[in-house]
Amino acid sequence: MTGHDVVFVLVGLLTAGGAVLTVTSKNLMHAALFFAVTLGGIAGVFLPLAADFLALVQIVVYVGAVAVLFMFGLMLTRAPIGREALDGQNRGLAMAVAGGLFVVLSTLVIGAFGDLPTAEVTGPRIDDLGIAIFADWVLPFEVLSMLLLAALIGAIVLARRETGESGEELTVTRIEMAQDRDPDALEREQAALTSGSGGDGEEHA
């Protein structure tokens, strides 16, 4: 075992521990925090593999932004985030699937790469990475900007307060309700449609 291996195993254990705690903790907020630990641990895994830049990206984007977004997401919803939030209906099934996947994948990976000779890892330098992105992968890079733009605008569309129409706020107060597709609901919709009144009928006006 070299120093690399020791570091790799330690960081790997930290990551795996964080992941296990993420799915087992009863409190959603704690789960989110353990998730941040896992993400940070993955950054640590990248370091012994000589992927410095990737480790940095992992910390900046995942630990710095995605984990924060997760916690905002938890606090924005009306869902209870305390102890009572989690129900374990599918716990056994989930464990079986995850465990099975782990066994299968590790067997396959060891079978495929297990007998390869070990070598000193030398990762790409950041300027190699820059040349690769900006000389070879020009098109995916530019398409990515469109993808990110669409993601951002999509997020704004979904998060914005319902105004009925882009731009102006409607003055009518509207009650959000589930419109089930059962016959009664259809009849009610029809009634609202024919009488032409009621804020809720607007969707079909």
Binding site: L108, P140, V143, A150, G154, V157, E165, Q190, E203, A205
Partner: protein, 490 residues
Amino acid sequence: MQIDFIAILPEIILTVTALLVLAADLALRGDAKQFVNPLAGLGTVAAIIATVALWGSERVTFGTMYVVDDFAVLFKLLFLGTLLAILAISWRYIAEHRFFQGEYYFLLLTSFIGMLLMPSSRDLIMLFIALETVSVPAFVMVGMRKRDLYSSESALKFFLLGVLAAALMLFGMSMVYGFAGTTDLVGIAAAISGETASVPLLLGSVMLVLVGFGFKISAVPFHFWAPDTYSGAPMPVAAMLAVASKAAGFAGLVVVAFIAFEPVADVWGPMLGVLAVLTMTVGNLIALQQRDLIRLLAYSSVAQAGYILIPFGLARTGPGAAVVNAAAIEAVVFYLIAYAVMNVGAFAVAIAVERRTGLRSIADYAGLSGRSPLLAMGMTVFLLSLGGAPLTVGLWAKFAILEAIAVDITLFGIVLAGFLVVNSVIAFFYYLKVVRTVWMDEAPAGLPQLQPGFNLSAVVVVLMVGTLVLGVLPGLVTDFSSVISIVAAG
């Protein structure tokens, strides 16, 4: 580095159009906002012209990452034509339902940019980004009916399953890269041919990549999102998912399967063949029990995906494989064109009916023949064509698949053909059920006469004529042997 801008001109035009649409939506107020639709339409027409100009040429740019050949151009024309039809059927629907109009059209155009990139991509990373560019705007568009919890639920289902599929696919791609040391599709084919091909992990990774596309085309174990998502989404979005997004998935599948994974075709070929059988059978059997027209169309589109998967089941590697694979690709492309024509048409009629009445169960189509002869005619033609009736393009589409099977008859091919025939018969039950309701049943009292607007009528008429003309003269589009040029590349 030299970039061939002509080759990506259609994508550039759509990008500019999408940004203009967004700007126009910020600038316009109130009812004027609906005029972002013709703006998007203009951009689409310009993109179509730019694409047609590329026909017959073979352009390679961005290294070898991006290839515009006849195969790609045909797919691009299919996508842009679908986009034009969807814009036409969206106009009134989106304006009346007071969605975020500019954002809707922006997301729609962005999604189609991803589709245009798909058949030209020759690199795993490019393929993945194209696929995500198709999916991400679609996630949002499905959830745009925000006041309806049903729509939010369908968007959430679509999103969660879509992200899971994307993650699995990315995992598979990373492993394939680990084997091949390159993300270039042709390079992968060269790297994995020979003895590495039998490593279980490689085969598993190939499967994972195919799973990602299997989700996009809603093949059977990955189809659960489709019915809920189609019925919860705004209807033009459902049409887009059922046709364009599915065709994009198939385009990606063809590219990745027949170019990169061609050396292991003996493994994924039979697997996709089994998937095809499962997909069409399950789709058809569940469709039999549907009472909601959109859910019926959703399950029917699952079944159709099964038919389109059949040619993939024929794929093989080794000497003499090129002929079989070429015939398979030809069948896939022809079926997709036929499918787009008839399925967009069916959704257009459904939108016309739902827009006026808000009704969409099959029973609500009773007496449609009296309320709107045009829509009734259209629905009949489209459904019969989906079933594969004579004189419609649907028959020739199924015939193209049989033709691909006949190129080199094997036992597995005969089994697939048998399932195709049996399933076509089953499908006729539910298609004819709707047709009977439209023509035979009495219209319930109180339902208004339907007078679809100009756009919708035009779409229905054009697609109906297309279905019938291609049904009589399929040679108009079957003669594109040049699309198989991509086989030679692999």
